[in-house]
């Protein structure tokens, strides 16, 4: 999936660099899903085998799940997989699509990221200051670590959004109106769920 996505990008060094940061971090984080499966298995085994579920383990489960999806949001910006209503969008000229993207990032996405980022910083440092821990006595302490996932993932989203903004602006100004592959879920799903017996599948995107 990765090579494919990257090939569609016209090389703009700064954009590739920013995207690489997001991609590397997110693709590493994605493995938390495997850890999640294993920890759930451990939890179930403990609960049934030893009648002894662990609160700390239970909390670890949602910690990992939260990190995986929060970091994934920036990745989904980079891979352009956030859900759009494509009815009109798909029939717009590439130039209009780029303008929508640029205005959307500037007026809708960026203000949201920056405002929540601003609020979350104070919120995390407050948690750190009072050394907040789980409300359950046997739960995990250092609550600020998981809370700091919010500002960290917002920064990642900011990086991903910035990369997209630069890319779309450069392409708009340079009149590069080649329809770049994908936005839209059909092609994404096609890639995700291709039948396994077409092993030599030639994607006709």
């Amino acid at each position: 999936m990765q090579e494919k996505m990257q090939n569609n990008h016209v090389r703009i060094p700064i954009v590739s660099f920013l995207n690489k940061i997001v991609t590397k971090i997110a693709e590493t984080t994605a493995w938390l899903n495997v850890a999640l499966v294993l920890i759930i298995l451990t939890q179930v085994t403990l609960r049934y085998g030893f009648h002894n579920g662990l609160v700390a383990l239970e909390e670890l489960i949602w910690h990992l799940y939260a990190i995986a999806f929060m970091f994934g949001i920036s990745y989904a910006i980079t891979t352009d997989s956030h859900i759009r209503v494509d009815i009109i969008h798909a029939n717009m000229s590439v130039k209009s699509q780029r303008i929508v993207e640029i205005l959307g990032i500037l007026l809708l996405l960026m203000p949201f990221i920056i405002i929540i980022l601003d609020h979350s910083l104070g919120w995390v440092s407050e948690s750190y200051r009072v050394s907040e821990s789980s409300s359950n006595p046997t739960g995990l302490s250092y609550r600020w670590i998981i809370k700091s996932i919010i500002p960290i993932s917002l920064v990642l989203m900011l990086i991903a959004a910035l990369a997209k903004l630069i890319e779309e602006s450069v392409l708009l100004i340079s009149h590069n109106n080649k329809r770049h592959n994908t936005p839209g879920r059909v092609s994404m799903l096609k890639h995700l769920f291709h039948p396994q017996f077409q092993n030599n599948n030639q994607e006709k995107n």
């Binding site: 499966v37 759930i40 999806f69 949001i73 990745y75 859900i83 009109i88 609020h119």
Partner: protein
């Protein structure tokens, strides 16, 4: 109804949201951005113009960090990425194609057998890939070429695929039901159980229709040119292919239904089971696991992005009195409880034309939930099902959405299916094909509407003991 000046803000918010999503900018960010922008507008209208008194300001938005965190520390929603993991892994294991091949042999002698195969696979797959587009796309890519090669009538083939594909959002373990449970504050286990009969009824309706159609128009649902007598070997082969995935899904659902495992635990074990299945089918290797984990993250991320966007939108909407507006305008229509539900379902049906179930479950359901919960309905909970009204309502919404996704001209299933059709398949073929299935859907919906026991009986039995 007492119209407050703040309600203008609510209406303006909805209009801006709808106008902006049609630009094609991601829905999650439209929701978030509109929420943020209207905080500013409300503040301006409060303090500068002194029109309203919402009390919204920059500090109100500070609440959002806590709201986002409450999505993060939500134990039940952990099931979402896990079910997605399971679905993707099952897909990678190639079980769907195995089933397709062997069931085709089994049903080779029945007129319409291939279409029935597609329906059955749709039902089994449905359980694994609760994302509507996913099952439609997968079924389309997998079975359409086979059906067309066997000279199936195009509309029949397309209709079967679209309809069976949309069953996925209803049949447990459906990730839509996980989200609905979370938003309506009802047990996900109840919803899963409640969905069993509606799912079976729709499946049976589809199959009956296909059989009758095959009898009436044999030339439109022809047999394969190379069909053979059914031998015991074929039956065994089908068993061998169906049993492992079916067992996995039954184990996941069974452990939830019997109260052995929580939904989250069952989803994790399901993900593990699917991984073993891939291993058994010799499909498992490093790159498959990597693809599955990365796609699991990507898919959960776009769902959760809408979660976050909807949270922001909802907070601001609520501060402007959006809840009261919706509640009082629904109540002021002066309808009986059942007529009111009818109106609400009609609204959801219309929204389903351009919003996916994710947006509808996250934006619309939380607004309607309190209204429905307060209605005086005679939904039998047998004393053991909590909130039987809401459980029943959630399933009605699920089937309504499914119908909406099938309905031309803009139903999602049609849109996805068109995306994977070979050249030469016209949009009108799909329209013609889905039409009978829409009728079947309406029959199913009518049955569930008239007999709420279809939904609430099973959960009541499971917990009654």
């Amino acid at each position: 109804m007492d119209f407050q000046p703040e309600y203008y803000l609510v209406i303006a918010m909805f209009i801006s949201f709808i106008a902006l999503i049609f630009t094609g900018f991601p829905v999650a960010w439209v929701l978030a951005g509109v929420g943020i922008a209207f905080t500013g507008i409300a503040w301006w209208s409060d303090n500068i113009m002194e029109w309203t008194g919402t009390g919204l300001d920059y500090n109100t938005l500070g609440l959002l960090t806590g709201r986002v965190f409450s999505i993060m520390d939500n134990w039940v929603l952990v099931a979402l990425p896990m079910f997605i993991f399971m679905g993707l892994m099952l897909d990678k294991s190639g079980v769907a194609e195995q089933m397709m091949r062997s069931m085709q042999r089994l049903f080779g002698n029945v007129k319409g057998g291939l279409a029935i195969t597609v329906t059955l696979i749709g039902i089994i797959l449905a359980a694994s890939t609760g994302i509507i587009g996913a099952s439609v796309v997968l079924l389309g890519l997998m079975s359409l070429p086979v059906m067309l090669k066997q000279n199936y009538d195009k509309p029949l083939a397309l209709g079967t695929i679209a309809a069976s594909g949309t069953l996925g959002i209803l049949i447990p373990p459906s990730i839509m039901l996980v989200i609905m449970g979370d938003q309506l504050g009802v047990s996900v286990g109840d919803l899963f159980m409640g969905a069993v009969f509606p799912g079976v009824i729709l499946g049976v309706l589809y199959i009956t229709y296909i059989l009758i159609y095959g009898k009436l128009y044999p030339e439109k649902a022809p047999l394969a040119a190379d069909h053979t007598e059914i031998r015991l070997k074929d039956v065994l082969r089908v068993m061998l292919d169906i049993v492992p995935p079916a067992l996995l899904i039954l184990a996941v659902l069974g452990s939830i239904f019997m109260g052995i495992a929580t939904v989250t635990e069952a989803s994790g074990i399901g993900a593990l089971g699917a991984t073993f299945l891939s291993l058994a089918y010799k499909r498992l290797n490093f790159s498959v696991i990597k693809e599955v984990v990365v796609n699991t993250m990507n898919t959960s991320a776009y769902i959760f992005a809408i979660f976050i966007g909807a949270t922001i939108f909802a907070l601001v909407l609520r501060e402007c009195g959006g809840d009261e507006l919706i509640e009082s305008s629904l109540n002021s229509m002066g309808l009986g409880p059942y007529a009111l539900i009818g109106v609400v379902l009609l609204l959801i049906f219309a929204l389903g034309f351009f919003l996916d179930w994710i947006e509808i479950s996250l934006i619309i359901l939380p607004l309607l939930g309190p209204v429905i919960a307060g209605l005086d309905l005679a939904v039998e909970g047998y004393g053991v099902v909590d909130n039987p009204n809401l459980v029943w309502f959630a399933l009605l919404v699920a089937v309504t959405l499914q119908t909406s996704f099938l309905t031309p001209p803009v139903g999602f299933a049609i849109f996805y299916l068109k995306g994977v059709c070979p050249d030469g398949v016209k949009l009108t073929d799909i329209y013609k094909g889905v039409f009978p299935f829409i009728i079947l859907q309406l029959v199913g919906l009518g049955l569930i509407f008239s007999f709420p026991q279809l939904v609430t009986w099973l959960p009541s039995v499971a917990y009654g003991n």
